[in-house]
């Protein structure tokens, strides 16, 4: 009899809240669609071969995937214990203190803005064949970029996150096209035999290795977003880690395969020269020769939608970052407000659009090259910024677990993030040494120092701002790193430590 009495009654609350919860596939789709695979394969990889001139890009993708998988072990473990889990600076705040957190937030703003704005340089090249085919017109790149800019700006203000179903279909189509292209390239090897030279360590450990590693990191940007769903997932302990590892693995396989098959089809000895000459057209020219016109057209159309989807996704990421900082009052409070009707972070979205417009006009007026100097330079610089944040976060994870004494396996709290931190630091050192290769400029060009130096300067200024907040606005200082949860940080009037509530309460 007693067994019936102790049987747990089904909970209406748990059931109602579980209904909208996400499973592994939903989270993976979300992450991958932000990563925009075709943009990376057709845009970043081809330009990368041409500019950097190193054959080892496929191996770099695999190496970076291994490092990020190690990093993710600690990252997802800490994410479960965090408010504002989607933002690297929140981890740094908890692990290394609030001034370091503000410094990281500044770096994040620059890096994500660079990634978003850089995409305006690719849209012209992506739209050119499609517009030519449809209307027979060849507009200037900046006209296309301005149209895309207006579209992104309006969608951002209306908070039209493209429907998840549409994104999923586009993503599947992109991956299908990439695989078809790859198979065709592997089926038509240059010189008649398939070469594995791109996977040879001899072609990887060469001057310029740091540059290709940054390029590979750039391809993975977006994987960090999986933890945003820690609370909305069916099983936070399983769903988010699984989704993170799966995303990293899928990205690694697709990118390594694609970048390798390009070298097979063109020939390892000629890929650098051909990629330099044909730029983003390379894989489409190959596909046109191997597969015919229909597949080529589909591929070109998907490249265009891929770049657009990536733009909208990065615009929203950047606007939300700014919104979170506005909620904390680390940035002016106006950035923390939303449009009542749509819930869009209005001011944050407008600010991002404003920056985009300035950059497009700057490049148009000066006649700078959109693909190399806008898309590739800002893209790789943004990727370098994300690399710096991942490395700092890896250290923050170790110190967080060491200081808080929370129950966690040794692997997740020390060993995995420790190896990742060492590897990431090594990549940073190599990247700084090879920054001239990454940008494709002369080794004595001031640009090779200017681009990487932006981040330490921003981090330093941010940290100083954090220290200033501690003295002048202790309320704001207490909220740093909590994002949208910061409203709760100052709520309890008496008793408990006001800093800890927002996050601790929900444990």
């Amino acid at each position: 009899m007693s067994s019936t009495a102790t049987t747990e009654r089904p909970s209406n609350v748990s059931e109602a809240l579980a209904r909208g919860r996400l499973g592994v596939p939903s989270v993976v789709f979300f992450v991958l669609s932000a990563a925009a695979p075709l943009t990376v394969v057709a845009g970043v990889v081809t330009t990368g071969y041409g500019v950097i001139g190193v054959l080892g890009i496929p191996l770099a993708f695999l190496a970076v995937a291994a490092v990020l998988a190690l990093f993710s072990a600690g990252y997802v473990a800490m994410a479960r214990r965090m408010a504002n889990a989607g933002a690297f600076y929140a981890y740094v705040t908890r692990g290394l203190g609030r001034p370091a957190g503000v410094g990281t937030a500044w770096v994040a703003l620059i890096a994500y803005n660079a990634l978003q704005v850089g995409l305006y340089g690719a849209i012209g090249a992506a739209a050119e064949p499609v517009l030519d085919r449809l209307f027979g017109i060849q507009p200037q790149w900046w006209i296309v970029a301005l149209v895309a800019w207006a579209l992104v700006g309006v969608l951002g203000l209306l908070r039209v996150d493209i429907n998840g179903m549409v994104l999923a279909v586009l993503l599947c189509a992109e991956i299908a096209v990439i695989v078809v292209f790859d198979l065709a390239q592997l089926g038509n090897p240059a010189g008649g035999s398939v070469s594995f030279a791109a996977f040879s360590p001899d072609n990887f450990f060469v001057p310029g290795v740091g540059a290709v590693l940054v390029l590979a990191i750039l391809g993975f940007v977006g994987f960090e977003a999986s933890v945003v769903f820690s609370e909305e997932s069916k099983d936070p302990k399983r769903t988010v880690p699984m989704a993170t590892y799966l995303s990293v693995a899928i990205i690694a396989v697709v990118y390594a395969l694609s970048s390798w098959s390009m070298t097979v089809a063109v020939g390892p000895d000629r890929i650098v020269e051909e990629a330099g000459a044909q730029s983003v057209g390379l894989i489409f020219n190959l596909a046109g020769a191997h597969l015919g016109d229909t597949v080529l057209t589909i591929g070109q159309a998907l490249f265009l939608t891929s770049v657009l989807a990536a733009m909208i996704s990065f615009h929203n990421t950047t606007a939300r970052y700014t919104f979170a900082l506005g909620r904390e009052r680390v940035l002016p409070a106006v950035f923390g407000r939303t449009s009542p009707m749509t819930g869009a972070p209005q001011a944050a979205s407008l600010a991002q659009s404003g920056l985009g417009l300035v950059v497009i006009l700057l490049y148009a007026v000066n006649g700078w090259d959109p693909v190399l100097q806008l898309f590739f330079w800002l893209g790789t610089s943004g990727g370098f910024g994300v690399l710096l944040m991942i490395a700092t976060t890896a250290v923050a994870i170790i110190t967080y677990f060491a200081r808080s004494g929370e129950q966690e396996t040794l692997w997740r709290r020390l060993i995995a993030p420790g190896i990742a931190a060492i590897a990431l630091t090594a990549i940073i050192v190599l990247a700084v040494q090879n920054f001239a290769n990454l940008l494709g400029v002369e080794p004595d060009s001031p640009l090779r120092w200017l681009f990487p130096a932006v981040y330490p300067v921003a981090a330093l200024l941010g940290a100083l701002w954090g220290v200033a907040l501690r003295r002048n606005r202790p309320d704001t200082y207490a909220r740093i790193g909590l994002g949208a949860e910061s409203a709760t940080a100052v709520a309890p009037p008496s008793g408990t430590d006001p800093v800890s509530t927002g996050a601790e309460v929900r444990r």
Partner: protein, 208 residues
């Protein structure tokens, strides 16, 4: 009029009953209103992010009664944020129905293609517009507002509706609003803060 009712009318301050607030914030603001009503009646309290029932006697209002029953029936869930999310899912309908029962709104079903949507139309426009007008007047006066009015203002600010209410008010009203929320009794202040956090988190997730 009850807190959640006034919030509803302010968030749908329109002749056609269309929402002026996005669904996530409207639901969470109304959920905050429903919990706030129970706090004001002395049925529950909020401390350190947890809801505790302190008086199990049924409240006079039917909806408040239902909410209290749910709180008592599922005592394993205590986090304010859990209850805000749960109540937010149905709050627009349940509060809209309450206002329809009270004769303030009229329920209207619209069939469009395959979907049926429900809107609540004001029966008397003056009654529907009154809460916003009243709050503006409250902020213009120099004496501090009553606790229920202060809570309503807090929830309005938490949901991001301040400019809807204060569109014509001077800087003095804005300044006064900034002083009212910190002066709320502790459980209500915490409720407002959790509502603001939940609304912000919904924006950050980006899924409407």
């Amino acid at each position: 009029m009850l807190i959640a009712d006034e919030f509803f009318l302010i968030a749908h301050n329109d002749t056609r009953g269309k929402a002026k607030l996005h669904p996530a914030a409207a639901g969470l603001g109304l959920a905050g209103g429903l919990l706030g009503e129970l706090i004001l009646y002395g049925h529950i309290t909020v401390t350190s992010g947890q809801v505790t029932v302190i008086d199990r006697r049924p409240p006079a209002d039917a909806l408040a009664h239902t909410v209290l029953d749910q709180l008592i029936g599922e005592a394993q869930h205590q986090a304010v944020r859990t209850w805000l999310s749960f109540l937010a899912q149905t709050a627009v309908t349940s509060v809209g129905e309450r206002l329809a029962r009270a004769g303030v709104l009229r329920r209207q079903e619209n069939r469009r293609l395959l979907r049926t949507t429900v809107t609540y139309l004001p029966i008397d426009l003056n009654v529907a517009a009154w809460p916003a007008t009243r709050l503006r007047a409250v902020l213009e006066r120099s004496e501090p507002p009553s606790v229920p009015d202060a809570l309503l203002l807090g929830l309005i600010a938490a949901a991001g509706l301040t400019r809807e209410v204060l569109w014509s008010a001077g800087p003095r009203a804005h300044h006064r609003l900034n002083l009212i929320i910190p002066a709320l009794p502790a459980p209500l202040k915490e409720l407002v803060a959790h509502t603001e956090s939940a609304v912000g988190a919904a924006v950050l997730r980006g899924i409407p």
